[in-house]
């Protein structure tokens, strides 16, 4: 597996405060990489180091195997969480300016801007000033500016904040399309539902330390609890629950069913097969519902953060 970005033991201190403590992360190319962590964990500092806004105290970052250098900026597109545009500048002029700062020629920038403005249906804004646009509208312009120079690596810090659901979806689709075209995306957020939907790799940073990273499916496998949700129809729910609780770890569950009167979460021994549970249950009652409980990224997040 190719990696586009490697961070090797990156450490950053602000005075006595440690923002990043020897963080090592590998971002596979072509992936959507979720950088997760509670507020103040050090995500933004890490992203700023990748963008060469600040320098690490120790450790190094490699892009495509090369230690980070100023010219790498052209290969990175960064949408910061703290974002804005020049208020009194016209949309088109501003987009052209920012694109040229990223090394595009004026003609090139104009052509690509036209493509993107048409694509996101904002062609008529070219001569408007930013101060005339709503926040969501301005965010669309920012998104375009971020991706315009076709960077290999895109970094989005909370990209969906400030978008209404329709536009958030639009942006999400664009992000997925960019990935399909070969870009790698680092995605920093603490909104887990978007991580679940988009990311195939994650790293979890907590209190300046990396506490978890890897493929989402692998992480979920290690975090599975061998717990199953079952829905049973029986005439004696109380006695059945009593019997079950002697054999397994049982807790009440809630989900939607039509006529089940006993809903339970049942945890089995790590190495036993769920088939045994199924055959035992079917001998006792009518089973309408049997689902493995897969930990959500949210659960893993909360579990890991509160554990450490």
């Amino acid at each position: 597996m190719n990696t586009i970005l490697v961070a090797d033991q990156v450490t950053k201190n602000y005075g006595k405060f440690t923002a990043l403590n020897s963080i090592s992360i590998e971002v596979p190319s072509g992936s959507i990489f979720g950088l997760l962590g509670p507020n103040g964990a050090g995500k933004t500092t890490f992203i700023r180091i990748i963008n060469q806004i600040t320098m690490p105290d120790s450790g190094s970052v490699f892009l495509d195997g090369e230690a980070l250098q100023p010219h790498h900026i052209q290969h990175i597109g960064y949408l910061p969480e703290e974002r804005g545009l020049y208020k009194s500048m016209k949309v088109g002029e501003q987009a052209l300016y920012l694109a040229q700062l990223k090394g595009l020629s004026k003609a090139q920038a104009k052509e690509r801007l036209k493509y993107w403005f048409d694509k996101l249906d904002i062609g008529s804004w070219w001569d408007k000033k930013i101060e005339e646009l709503s926040k969501g509208m301005a965010q669309k312009v920012q998104f375009i500016v971020t991706v315009l120079h076709q960077p290999k690596l895109l970094i989005f810090d909370e990209p969906f904040s400030g978008f209404d659901p329709v536009n958030a979806n639009l942006i999400k689709d664009e992000i997925l399309e960019l990935r399909n075209q070969g870009a790698t995306i680092i995605f920093s957020t603490h909104r887990m539902e978007s991580v679940e939907e988009l990311c195939d790799h994650i790293a979890l940073i907590h209190n300046a330390n990396k506490v978890l990273d890897g493929k989402v499916t692998d992480i979920k496998k290690t975090y599975k609890s061998n717990t199953y949700e079952v829905g049973l129809k029986t005439e004696h729910p109380d006695s059945l629950q009593n019997d079950l609780s002697h054999k397994f770890e049982v807790s009440p569950a809630s989900f939607q069913t039509l006529d089940d009167n006993l809903k339970l979460k049942i945890k089995i021994e790590p190495h036993s097969s769920p088939n045994e549970l199924i055959s035992y249950l079917t001998s006792k009652a009518q089973m309408n519902h049997f689902v493995e409980v897969i930990p959500s990224v949210n659960d893993i997040f909360i579990q890991t953060v509160s554990k450490s």
């Binding site: 005075g15 963008n51 910061p80 703290e82």
Partner: protein, 432 residues
């Protein structure tokens, strides 16, 4: 370099297209020219007013001394009591009543003369009367002592030393003054320019923070380029505005003078003696002096020091802008800018004009913060080229250093959103 050009262009355009910039560019010359005309008009009104002063001279000694002038008329009252004179003066709406009482002893007279007036008297009127009385009384006393006034008049002398340097070139006494005026005007212009346009640089540096675009910009360009671009771009906008002011102001003045037919030259120069002296030593010599000033060096070094000085102060303004989040936080940092500027002006006006090559003047013309103004004032007096060169190098090196410093602060300052920095913190940031 490409980015620097882009930044300069953007900064220039965003300043020049700003509505308030356009309004101020057009309005300022109008306001200034309007003010000048108002002042001229009002002082014209003022000087047209004619004051009449009643004189009650019981000694009869000064009856011929008071001569009517354009603005001041005298009305002699004779053979009446002081009380009556007062009533006359009051009811006739005279400016005042001058009362010279009868005395036996002339030496006591100077303390006993009175002036009665409604409210407070016009200062120049009183001065004029006092002058007249002084001259007349002195002459009367001299005559009483048997001195021939004619002899005194003929023996008055006015020594006029001809100044010539060892090469045999003649100069006038005005020479030093001309040089001081040239230098002073240049220094003053620079100070005005710094104060007016320095703030613009500072605001432009804060702009990225208030617009929250800072991270996008800083991840695309080097802070040093950003600072440099802002300083140059804003300066160019300032120069543009200044040139427009000069041209527009000149045109307006021309139009206004021809339309209203106002004579802008003051009718009476306050310092008549200076003009007499100038005439005496000859306008020619003065012109010769001006022509003999090192015009070439003067213009070139004026430009270089002007640009250097302006850039240096702009970079300090930029550093302040880099350290704060919004304009209200800038107040505490204004002090260090104003102090050296004031100091330079004082050194310029007191040390340089008194002794252009004294150690105070020399030292301050090398310290980068004061050198632009002090050196500009010294140059007309003739400064060796190597001194100018050293001073220039120091100036531009400091400028580059301060820009670097500002860029450093700017980069670190991003991480400190919403926190008011202290000097101590600024020092800490430098070490990051």
């Amino acid at each position: 370099m490409q980015n620097l050009r882009l930044i300069i262009k953007r900064e220039f355009n965003s300043r020049v297209r700003n509505k308030s910039f356009i309004v101020m560019t057009i309005l300022s010359p109008l306001i200034v020219v309007g003010m000048i005309f108002l002042v001229v008009f009002l002082s014209g009104l003022n000087s047209e007013e004619v004051r009449t002063v009643a004189v009650l001279d019981e000694t009869q000694l000064f009856s011929d001394s008071f001569e009517d002038s354009e603005n001041l008329k005298f009305k002699q009252l004779t053979d009446i009591e002081l009380v009556t004179a007062k009533t006359i003066s009051e009811t006739s709406d005279y400016h005042g009543l001058l009362y010279i009482p009868q005395t036996e002893d002339l030496s006591q007279l100077d303390k006993n003369i009175q002036f009665f007036v409604e409210g407070s008297p016009n200062v120049s009127t009183i001065q004029s009367i006092e002058r007249t009385l002084n001259t007349s009384l002195t002459n009367i006393k001299l005559e009483n002592d048997g001195v021939d006034l004619l002899k005194i008049e003929t023996s008055k002398t006015n020594v006029d030393i001809k100044i010539e340097n060892y090469q045999g070139e003649q100069t006038s006494k005005m020479s030093s003054w001309i040089k001081a005026i040239f230098g002073g005007a240049a220094g003053y212009l620079l100070m005005m320019f710094i104060i007016i346009y320095g703030n613009m640089v500072m605001r432009s540096v804060i702009e990225e923070k208030t617009n929250r675009i800072i991270e996008i910009i800083i991840s695309s360009v080097k802070p040093y380029h950003l600072m440099m671009g802002k300083i140059i771009g804003t300066s160019l906008a300032g120069v543009t505005q200044f040139l427009i002011w000069v041209v527009l102001g000149g045109i307006l003045m021309l139009i206004a003078t021809s339309v209203f037919g106002l004579n802008l030259e003051p009718s009476t120069m306050p310092n008549q003696e200076m003009i007499d002296q100038a005439n005496a030593s000859g306008m020619q010599a003065v012109l010769y002096d001006i022509a003999r000033l090192p015009i070439g060096t003067l213009i070139i070094s004026f430009l270089i020091f002007f640009i250097g000085g302006y850039f240096l102060y702009s970079s300090i303004y930029a550093a302040i802008g880099a350290a704060v989040d919004n304009e209200t936080d800038t107040q505490q940092f204004m002090f260090p800018i104003i102090i050296p500027l004031m100091l330079a002006m004082y050194v310029g006006f007191f040390a340089v004009i008194e002794n252009p090559h004294g150690s105070v003047a020399v030292i301050f013309s090398h310290i980068p913060l004061t050198s632009p103004i002090v050196m500009l004032m010294r140059i007309p007096f003739g400064v060796p080229w190597w001194e100018i060169l050293i001073s220039m190098l120091l100036l531009f090196a400091t400028f580059a250093l301060v820009v670097w410093f500002a860029a450093k602060i700017y980069r670190v300052g991003i991480l400190m959103y919403g926190k008011k920095p202290t000097y101590k913190e600024l020092y800490k940031w430098l070490k990051y």
